[in-house]
Each structure stands twice: as C-alpha cells, then as structure tokens.
C-alpha cells in the first residue's frame, strides 16, 4: 500500500501548530510507515509538489504570497485541512483587521521604533498585505478543520488516524473547541 502523501504549510501564523505537530513525538515515527511528509516547513523542499493526498495549512491568509500559495495548494491537494484557529477564524493574525493596512504599516514601521525600510525596498522585501486577514475557507474550498490554538497533538493524531482509515474527519466535542 502506498503511503499517504502529506504536506503542511505555514501561512500567517506563529508556527505553534507545527510545534504541536512535532509534539506528536514518538508517534510521528509510528505513523511514518503510513505517511510520507512531502512538503512543509519541516521538510527541505522549495516548490509545492503536485499530487498531495492531504495538506494541513496553518495560519490565515494575510498577504498576496499566502493567497497565491493557498490557491496553488488547493489545486495540488485532494484534501485541504484548516489547521488551527488562525486558518479557521483568523485568530490573532486577524486582530490587525481593526486597522487599515496603511495605518498599520505606519504604526509598526514608520512611526514605530527603529528605522523603516524605504518604500521601494519594502516592496521587494515585504509581501504585500491583503486589506483584511481572511480565514482559508473564505478563499478556497476547505475539506476539514482542526480547531485549537494550537490544536493539541491528540487532535492531530485523531485526524491523521481517520485519514489513514479512509474515514471522514470528525472530532469529538471536546476536541473541536476553539482556543
């Protein structure tokens, strides 16, 4: 039996969900027979590959780079899973939605401590921000959700187990709370 081709991706978030993934610890080794981790921050691969069975995406859609990658992932993945609260609700990442992008950049880079990059430099270094931070399902079709900030390893394991059994992803009541 071929192994499940799994990718993870990291958009606008703190990488805490990936840390929680690593917290699976020994269980990671146990599932490695069945799962092949093909792409993600934990893997050394530049281009998002074709033909993914499942992609777990951490973080919200905060800039055009996120948007582009997300759309590419959607095309190349059979199942796309919102991984953690930022991907599902926008969570902390979306707290900037209280402000306009201009006000935000002014406050953080121009009026804030330290010197700001010149605007033409900034264009080359910083990805252009979207006017609003969006949860994944407002941009592409999402197949399943793993709530939590971060989702604890048990939730991740439960999802991976269902996937390996070919079952629909369903979390129990205690495992699907936000926060």
């Amino acid at each position: 039996m071929s192994r499940l081709r799994l990718a993870t991706a990291w958009l606008g978030g703190c990488s805490g969900c990936h840390m929680s993934f690593l917290d699976l610890g020994e269980q990671l080794i146990e599932i490695s027979d069945a799962i092949e981790l093909v792409y993600g921050p934990l893997v050394d691969a530049k281009e998002f590959p074709e033909g993914m069975d499942v992609t777990l995406i951490e973080g919200a859609v905060a800039n055009f780079e996120n948007l582009e990658l997300l759309q590419q992932i959607r095309k190349r993945s059979k199942l796309l899973i919102s991984f953690g609260d930022c991907a599902i609700t926008g969570n902390v990442t979306s707290l900037r939605n209280f402000f306009s992008v201009d006000d935000l950049l002014t406050a953080v880079y121009h009026a804030g401590p330290g010197s700001a990059p010149r605007s033409d430099e900034a264009d080359q270094v910083l990805p252009e921000l979207l006017p609003r931070v969006l949860p994944l399902h407002q941009v592409v079709e999402v197949d399943a959700y793993i709530p939590g900030c971060p989702p604890d390893p048990e939730r991740i394991l439960a999802v991976l187990s269902s996937l390996l059994k070919g079952e629909a992803v369903t979390l129990s009541e205690v495992q699907r709370s936000f926060g």
Binding site: L67, E68, L130, P131, R132, L134, Q138, V140
Partner: protein
C-alpha cells in the same frame, strides 16, 4: 353639543356652502406647497379681497387632493356643475380662472385635468372621502361632510357589543400591514379584564416610500379622532393615544388642534355628545424607530422606554399599556371606522375581494407617470393601478417590478401584474399588503441593489434584542454587497438563501421575521439577475459596478491587485 345640534350645524354649513357661487379648493399638501401652492392661495386671497370678499365666493386650503406630482392643484366647485381640477397652477392661472368664472367667460383649459381622468374615476374614496375637500383645521367643514354623525349614531343607538359586531360584519382588517380582523381585535379587548383600557392609534408610519398615514392625519384629522372615539365606546376605554411619527410635525399639530376643537364642541372629553361616554385623546410623538410599528415596541415607546418588542403572549389585548388591555390599530384603520357606520357594515363589506373587504389607500410612487395618493377597492388588479390610475411608466419605460409592503414586503414581477391586490394574493406572491407603499420600478432598477437597499434599512432599524435580526441582517447585507460588487461566489448565494430563511424563522418580532422578504421575493422572481451578478459578473440593469473579483478568480489575476477584497472595512 348634542346630536340634534350636530345635525343642525351640519345642515347650516352645508347650506352655506351650497349657496356659494364658487368654491375654490387649493391643495395645501406638502408636495403642492413645495410646488408653490402658497403663492396660489395668496394670489386668490388678494383677488378676493380686491373684490370685497363676497360671501358667495369661498377659498379653502385643503389637504392632499391626490395626484401629488401635478401640483399645485386647484379644484373648482360650482353648484349644479361638474367639478373641475386644474393641475400645475400658478398664481396668474388661478386668478385668471377666478376672473373667467366670475365673468362667465371661457376658462383657460390647458391645465385642466379631463373629467374622465382614470386617476380620479378608478378610485373609490371612503377613507379619503374628505381629503382634499375640506380645510383640515376646520371642524365645521368636517361636520358638514357628515362628520361625527357615526359617533353620534353609535353612542345613542348602539350598545358597545353592537358596535363591535358592526366592525366584525364589515370585514375590516388592519391597514397597518398585519391584516388582522379589526372587529375580532375589538371584541378581544372588550372582553379583556382590567380596571382601565386604552386605545393606541399607530401613526408612526415608518415604511420608506409610504405616506398614506401622514396624508390622512394632515388632511382629515377629525376622521381619525372620530374612529378612535367610536372604538373607545365599543371596547370600554376612556383614554386614547395617537402615536405620531416625529418627522410629521404638521400632522401632530393638526391633530392637536382637532382634539382641542372637538373637546370644545363636546365631541370629545367628558360626556361626549351629551351621552354618558367620556373619552380623551392625547398625542405622543415618535422619535424615529421603524420597529415601533411592532405593537409591543410601540407600547414600550409610549411608556417612555426603548422601543424594543417583547415576546407575545401576553398580547396587548390582554396586557398592553401599564398592563391594561389595549387596542392598537393603525390610523388608516381608524379612518375606515366612520365610513363603516355611515354607509353601513354591509355596504362596506360589499366592496373588496375574497377575505379583503373595503378599500386600501396606496402611495403610488416611483417610475410611474401619475405619482400620488390613491384609494382603491381591495382586489383591483395591480395592472389597473399601475397602467390606468398611474398612467404607466414615465418616459415609456418597460415595467419591471412593483414593490409593496416596504422593507417587509417584496417585488412583484411583470408576469404577475394581473394579480388582484389584496392581503392573500400579495402574500402568495411573497410580498405583503403592508401599510400601502407601492413603488413602481422600470428596467433601470437592479433587483439585487433594491434588496440591498431594504436590507440596509432593516439592519439600521433592528432594535438589537435578538441575534438573528441584529446580526443576521448585517451578514445578509454583506452578502448582497458582495453580489453587487462582483466578488460573490455560488456558495455565497447559497449561504444567502439559508441565512434569509433562518432569520425569517427565528427572529423575535415581525421586523426581523419580515426583513428577508425583499431578498427572498427578488430571489424568487428575479433569480436570473442574481445569477448574472454571480456567474457572469454582470449587472443586467447596469446599476452595480463590478469593481471586485471573487477570491477564487484571484489566482489567475493576482496582478490586478484589487483595492479591497471581501470587506470594505467600513462598519458593516
């Protein structure tokens, strides 16, 4: 004043009016005033003064005469001759008409409305019988039209139960929109137990695009007072309130004067018309909240509180103002009452269609040639209202939809133009009779945009008490905005329908429950227009500008770098 004196006064005033060689009725409704009616009155008054103010020439400033887009209107009455109505009169024209009449010379007629003009001939005027015929501030003129005769009849010839029965027999239903049988409501309140009972006349006309109540209160205030007083006797109340919309100061002022005049004449106050019945009416001024059209919110507002509805039961008929049984009817409903007793409940019941009896006043507006206030028998086909009374669409445009019932109603498409206009038939089309706003729209109106307009109204007027109305309306508005600006997906359309159904089913009061109606009715009759916005990013009416891309299309066109995505970041 007693009943005999009332009849004598009516006779005297009528005789005096009939002795007039010429009676000039100038419409002083707001539209006519805006068009220059005051100058017309001043010119005529000056001319009459120059003639020495002869007793057989009478000048009357009246309330609304009806065809509001043709003001200032001048109606000329001569004994034994058909009346004549001039449109768009100027001071010069008015004076020349007067002079010509006096010299029995031919009268300039280019502004004369034809005697068989369907706008007038197709109407049946009961509630508006006196509107535009009398000076609203003159009690005697109302009495000359048979005013307070119905009250006298009820007080002296009928028991309260008989009065309630007559209203039941008439088949009258609430004209504020709900359509609940008025007589049944009266009987309920009559049976209600309480040391005191109250009456509330709802004149807080909040529907955008409707001004029936304002016109009625301004043009014929005594008719409403008489209707309320009859109800007071019938249900056993001694106190009534008229809740007048804050935006209508003239209506409030005329009603106040009418109350004072009626009290002075013994037609209100203690021992009305020398009977044992005492009844007082007070005015309460609304402060701008559409939700106060909902009866429990209205009661809260009269008692000085936030106008938020409460859960019924108990209904106001059991526990209303200060916990006492309270009768709430719209002012137009009360305006029907004197007619029921003057023509008799059977005659009233003979007018109409199906379970909708009597007449209905409509404010006919929008892209129609003859804008104005009309009263038609229930069951008249919509086509007749739009194309005969209304004269069809302005500039020969094609009819697209008629909107009835305001923010709680819906849009009726061209293929349903032959529908009889009554409570049941309108409801079957997904609209409602409502209070009587009737807006005609042509091809240049976008139905999605119209739905969004009403949703903006509803979210702003939501009282905020229940979740579906407070937040659901905001989310419906956002979905509609997205459809209008071209960034909606098929899924958005699906969410819109689900959300509308939910808000309709779960809202606490009628405002929220009806708020999705404009969306649901346009989805039903104009779905292709929604689809065009979503699938082809095209507004068939050319109203919406598709300035944003749906997110799923952004992949191909990322470089377009649109200014804003789903949310405009401004409040909603």
């Amino acid at each position: 004043m007693n009943r005999v004196e009332l009849a004598e006064l009516a006779e005297t005033v009528t005789a005096q009016q009939q002795s007039c060689r010429l009676r000039l009725l100038v419409c002083c409704g707001t539209p006519c005033v805006a068009a220059g009616a005051e100058a017309v009155v001043a010119a005529l008054r000056e001319k009459l003064a120059a003639l020495g103010n002869p007793a057989d020439l009478e000048l009357v400033g009246t309330g609304c005469q009806g065809p509001c887009s043709r003001g200032p209107l001048l109606t000329v009455l001569r004994p034994g001759q058909p009346e004549q109505v001039w449109q768009k009169t100027t001071p010069e024209l008015a004076v020349s008409i007067l002079e010509a009449e006096l010299q029995q010379a031919p009268v300039p007629d280019e502004n004369l409305l034809p005697a068989d003009w369907p706008f007038f001939t197709r109407q049946t005027r009961l509630v508006l019988a006196n509107s535009g015929r009398i000076d609203p501030e003159n009690l005697e003129q109302y009495i000359a039209c048979g005013g307070y005769e119905s009250l006298a009849q009820v007080l002296h010839d009928m028991t309260p139960d008989q009065a309630c029965d007559s209203v039941v027999q008439s088949g009258l239903r609430g004209r504020g929109g709900g359509g609940y049988p008025t007589g049944l409501k009266w009987q309920l309140v009559r049976k209600g137990s309480g040391s005191r009972k109250f009456i509330v006349a709802n004149g807080d006309e909040g529907d955008p695009g409707a001004y029936m109540d304002r016109s009625l209160m301004e043009s014929d205030p005594h008719r409403i007072l008489e209707g309320i007083a009859i109800a007071g006797y019938a249900i056993g109340a001694e106190q009534g309130y008229i809740y007048v919309r804050g935006e209508y100061p003239v209506a409030a002022q005329r009603l106040r004067k009418a109350i004072k005049d009626a009290e002075r004449a013994g037609l209100l106050g203690s021992r009305v018309l020398d009977s044992s019945f005492s009844f007082r009416i007070d005015i309460r001024i609304g402060a701008g909240a559409f939700v106060c059209g909902e009866e429990t919110a209205l009661l809260a507002s009269i008692m000085g509180r936030r106008g938020q509805p409460r859960i019924r039961p108990p209904y106001p008929a059991e526990a209303g103002l200060w916990g006492c049984p309270t009768l709430i009817n719209n002012v137009e409903t009360f305006g029907n009452i004197p007619s029921i007793f003057s023509i008799g409940p059977q005659a009233f019941n003979a007018i109409g269609n199906g379970k909708s009896r009597g007449t209905k006043v409509f404010a006919l507006c929008g892209e129609v040639v003859n804008n104005g206030l009309i009263e038609v028998p229930m069951g008249i086909p919509l086509r007749e209202i739009v194309f005969e009374i209304g004269g069809g669409l302005a500039n020969g445009a094609a009819f697209k939809a008629a909107q009835t019932g305001g923010p709680s109603g819906g849009c009726i498409p061209a293929e349903k133009l032959d529908t009889p206009v009554d409570y049941e038939n309108l409801q079957a089309l997904g609209s409602i009779m409502g209070s009587g706003g009737l807006i005609v729209m042509g091809e240049q109106s976008c139905m999605v945009d119209v739905a969004r307009f009403f949703m903006e109204f509803c979210l702003d007027e939501s009282c905020g008490k229940c979740v579906p109305c407070r937040t659901g309306t905001v989310e419906i508005y956002r979905l509609l905005s997205r459809i209008c600006n071209g960034s909606a997906s098929q899924r958005d359309l699906q969410t819109l329908e689900q959300l509308c159904q939910m808000v309709k089913d779960t809202s606490l009061c009628g405002l929220g429950a009806a708020a999705p109606n404009p969306v649901l009715s346009t989805l039903r009759w104009f779905r292709a227009e929604y689809e065009a916005h979503v699938s082809q990013r095209r507004c068939p009416a050319g109203v919406c500008t598709m300035d944003q891309l749906p997110l799923h299309l952004l992949g191909e066109q990322l470089l377009q770098r649109i200014a804003a995505l789903r949310c405009d970041g401004e409040g909603y």
